[in-house]
């Protein structure tokens, strides 16, 4: 296998969201963040991807793994969540959404390459973050990181994470993390998309490539 493959070979590879995704519980809800690169081998198929996918009004999922697999799962979960919430007449809890993702990922584990973080706000529990990694386990965490770029963030997160951060602190935590992962991970890149989810709804923002903070670069 050649080290530098011809561009045509890249397009035959499965499209993956080689990615960095982070979700953090803060005082009033959750902050979620992701990079914007979708890669096919070493070709960046989409450099402005939106990996922050809403499945309901106050619940988002962060997708990593196969782009196709995660998109269709999110689509199904969104469909069922909307249907159930209309039938039940109330907003779904993040737990319900997460367990639905788990059901899809676990029962079809042979066919799927999907590692998903489910984060959002509900009235009962406030901000919640659930991790549904490869294999279909479901694990609730105060913060979760995923995707190929997350390897470079375990140290950063362990040192800098605090519970009950303010919105500003949490956004700084997430954006710096994404920035650093983009710097080190070839499969992550582009812009940093961030969303705040709390009782007031979802507020999205973007930090463009050239605006990302510069850390030690040499």
């Amino acid at each position: 296998m050649e080290l530098i493959e011809s561009p045509l070979q890249d397009l035959k590879k499965e499209v993956s969201t080689g990615t960095t995704i982070i979700a953090v519980q803060y005082q009033d809800g959750v902050i979620i963040g992701a990079d914007s690169r979708t890669s096919s081998g070493s070709y960046a198929v989409n450099r402005v991807t939106d990996k922050l996918t809403p499945v309901h009004d106050y619940i988002y999922c962060l997708r990593s793994g196969s782009a196709a697999d995660t998109q269709i799962i999110a689509s199904y979960v969104s469909y069922y969540l909307n249907m159930f919430s209309i039938e039940e007449g109330c907003l779904p809890t993040v737990k319900k959404a997460a367990h639905m993702f788990r059901e899809f990922c676990y029962q079809n584990k042979q066919y799927l390459l999907a590692s998903i973080i489910v984060a959002g706000w509900d009235e009962e529990n406030g901000g919640c973050v659930y991790n549904v990694p490869l294999g279909g386990s479901i694990i609730k965490q105060p913060f979760a990181i995923g995707g190929s770029g997350s390897s470079y963030l375990y140290g950063y997160c362990d040192i800098h994470f605090k519970e009950n951060m303010t919105e500003e602190e949490a956004i700084s935590f997430v954006s710096k993390g994404i920035t650093e992962a983009i710097a080190r991970d070839g499969s992550s890149g582009g812009i940093c998309r961030i969303a705040t989810i709390n009782k007031d709804g979802v507020k999205r923002r973007t930090i463009y490539g050239n605006e990302l903070q510069k850390f030690w670069e040499k």
Binding site: K109, Q110, N131, P133, L134, G135, S137, I138, I139, S151
Partner: protein, 227 residues
Amino acid sequence: MQPKKKTLRPIVTGSSVLGIKYKDGVILASDTLGSYGSLARFRDIRRIVPITKHTVIGGTGEFSDFQEITKILRQKIIENQELVESGKEEDELLPSEIHSYLSRVLYGRRNKFNPLWNDVVVAGFEKGKVHMGTVDLWGSYFEDDIIATGYGTYFALPLMRKAYKKDMERDKALEVLRDCLTVLFYRDCRTINRYVFAEITKEGVNITEPVEIETKWEIADWQEGKL
């Protein structure tokens, strides 16, 4: 489309579960780590869970399959409850019945080449005595007074066998478990120093919050003639 491939490899895994009987009941112990290959990814999971008021299960191996086993068993308890309430069944499922049922489930899955990739410890109190045993991904059923899964079979079992006495005191049982967990922390690369203990007596189940155990590193200074 590719043909169905079963017998997948485990992804998020849990290491050893230990269990020891004592005078008034039984104690299980495990760490709270879910490993992702060599990465210590999920450091606050529960690999020992209650199933009924008198039974707990502990799981080694693929964590998603252990969560599924927990679901399957709890569903079985609910079904049984309905039978109890309508008078068709006598009482809540016993630990030995749960253990037996689980062994049939796991054996059935193994026969279809689609195992639940776990080594499960089932422990509980029934009819004034303790029941404890394991079932593994092959469907092998096994009962004993001292139990260990994963690396624990190699490191902990010999230590537990030496220290075990029928109707031993609670403190001694805890001491043995703590020693074994410490050895496992020293020697098993897929563990962390954060443990949960589950005690079952005739009163019921009590699962502790995670605790740390002291480790000794003095031997680091005993080397002479270091290069």
